[in-house]
Point group: C2
Chain length 334, copies 2
């Protein structure tokens, strides 16, 4: 990879690991190496701005990993927001971009409201009334700047849970709550082993009566912003039409907005702090578990891990060692 | 009310009733009349653009009902999106604006992606780990244009269900699913009568293990966009600091984006139609209930009601009659 691609990719992966999002950091090396050896991504993509005006842009990622074009896209959205008030940047012909929250946080660190969404390369979420998966886990990340508190940071898959939680339930040999996944028969299942085979995640809300149609709608909103706006591939159609496509053509979306276009400088951040303080002071159900704010767990992990390091499982270390060895790269993680 | 305020208010209320959203149309007359007689809204507000650039604006609604300033705001967002690619308009000092989906649909009808969010004037949603309500039902509406199909239209409260569904369960004397509401003790309840008294709605996802923290995060995202960005009142703080405030200072957010800034003209709409067709063709769990797309029920209601009229309950008709009589207005709904 070109040097600046390496820097961006490592920064985004490290951002996930630092924030405690272990599933989207160095743990992803295995997948990325599989995609590379299968020829599904190029390590030397040409990333270029295809269309652009003062407030919008479209980037073609050139068929490589998503991190570098996505850092480029969010930086462009931030620059446009600083100049024009808002910036919307769509990315096509990309691949896995790591943790959505890393990009939204970039905007908040620049004093802006930030949003990022992404489609994924394999279907996971089943629409309401359906018995097959059509959307990826299609995350939404939204961040807003503060002064005294950590930034607000919502980073959520639009499925009820990520696949990782189902694997944990399987390892613990515990039944899952109904509403996490369907079995191969299309009905809600409590059997985690069955859910691992079926790969049929329920949209946020789970069953219809608990609002699963809303999670389905949010997953489709993410697909529209990430894929339809950029001209990337809608995964369910790509798999039907061209299952062996040379490129997975994943799409992403990035948005930044400057609060100072709406309010006096500093007023937005002051009100964010007041809202966050009020939330923390909400009467809790259990005094031992106060109300927290989206972004708090990630912020706590960043402080702890920046001081004490990022714990890696033996399995992850062995995987990285194997990949390094196969690539003829020195293994320095000892 | 000034004539143009009347026209906008009626159009938005009628849009909700036509779309089958009975809770947000003429049914709201009772609330609006209560607010008017209590002096909480003015019928002759001065609605003005306070700040503006090519892609953003802030509107002060002057302390009246939300419909007219919101139609003004979405029209402004649409005009900006047509000229600059995107338009973001925040509204402060407003009140109830009806059904969020009506505004998002305005953008789709203009060939644009549309988004609207609003805060509300009374708390309803309880944050994860909390035992008191801090956010309103804080809806998100998102729409996207198509060519052959009805536009995509997601219009959802960020609570698991609206209060109306709980009232229906109470009338039917049926237990509710856990995940709709908490009882006065802060624990999930299946008792609809208890839920009507407690007014403690669960965020989308319901319990923590089914992703309720995501619904909480979405409700807060809506509050930030609607209230913190515009400088309106965060309802939980307003009630603590100034429970008798002369104005409720509700905030809204409107956004429009032109797909033609990202793609060749018509490509976005063609891909939307393909995605919608693919969703309808998803293998269903029950062949008698095919997969539908967000916006389908509203679209079907619009066709049916435009042809056959809007059914009104005797209770709604009696309410409107009472309000008309008290205001010295002729009752013509016979």
């Amino acid at each position: 990879m070109p040097e600046e691609h390496i820097v961006a990719t490592v920064e985004v992966m490290l951002g996930a690991d630092l924030s405690g999002i272990d599933s989207h950091g160095v743990n992803m090396m295995t997948l990325y190496d599989q995609l590379r050896t299968a020829g599904k991504i190029t390590m030397t993509p040409e990333v270029r701005v295809v269309r652009e005006n003062a407030a919008t842009a479209l980037i073609d990622a050139g068929g490589g990993l998503g991190h570098f074009p996505s850092v480029t896209a969010m930086r462009l959205a931030i620059a446009k927001a600083k100049a024009a008030g808002t910036g919307a940047v769509a990315v096509r012909n990309s691949h896995h971009y790591g943790a959505a929250g890393v990009y939204a946080r970039m905007a908040a660190e620049a004093g802006l409201i930030g949003l990022s969404t992404t489609a994924t390369f394999s279907p996971a979420i089943v629409p309401t009334f359906g018995a097959e998966a059509v959307f990826g886990t299609n995350p939404i990340a939204f961040a807003a700047p503060t002064r005294r508190n950590p930034p607000f940071l919502l980073d959520m898959a639009t499925s009820t849970v990520a696949m990782g939680k189902i694997k944990l339930a399987s390892q613990a040999k515990k039944p899952m709550p109904l509403g996490w996944s369907l079995g191969r028969d299309g009905r809600p299942t409590a059997d985690a082993d069955e859910a691992i085979v079926s790969r049929l995640l329920s949209p946020l809300g789970g069953t219809r009566e608990l609002g699963g149609h809303k999670g389905y709608g949010l997953a489709m909103m993410v697909e529209i912003l990430s894929v339809t706006l950029s001209g990337a591939a809608f995964v369910a159609l790509r798999l039907k039409r061209d299952p062996d496509a040379a490129r997975h053509d994943v799409g992403h979306f990035f948005y930044a907005m400057d609060p100072d276009c709406f309010r006096e400088a500093g007023a937005f951040e002051a009100d964010m702090d007041e809202m966050i303080d009020a939330l923390r002071a909400t009467r809790p159900l259990d005094p031992a578990q106060p109300v927290i704010v989206p972004g708090d767990p990630e912020h706590a992990a960043r402080i702890e891990r920046a001081a004490n390091g990022i714990p890696l499982s033996d399995a992850v270390i062995a995987d990285v060692k194997r990949i390094a060895s196969a690539a003829g790269a020195e293994f320095i993680l000892t």
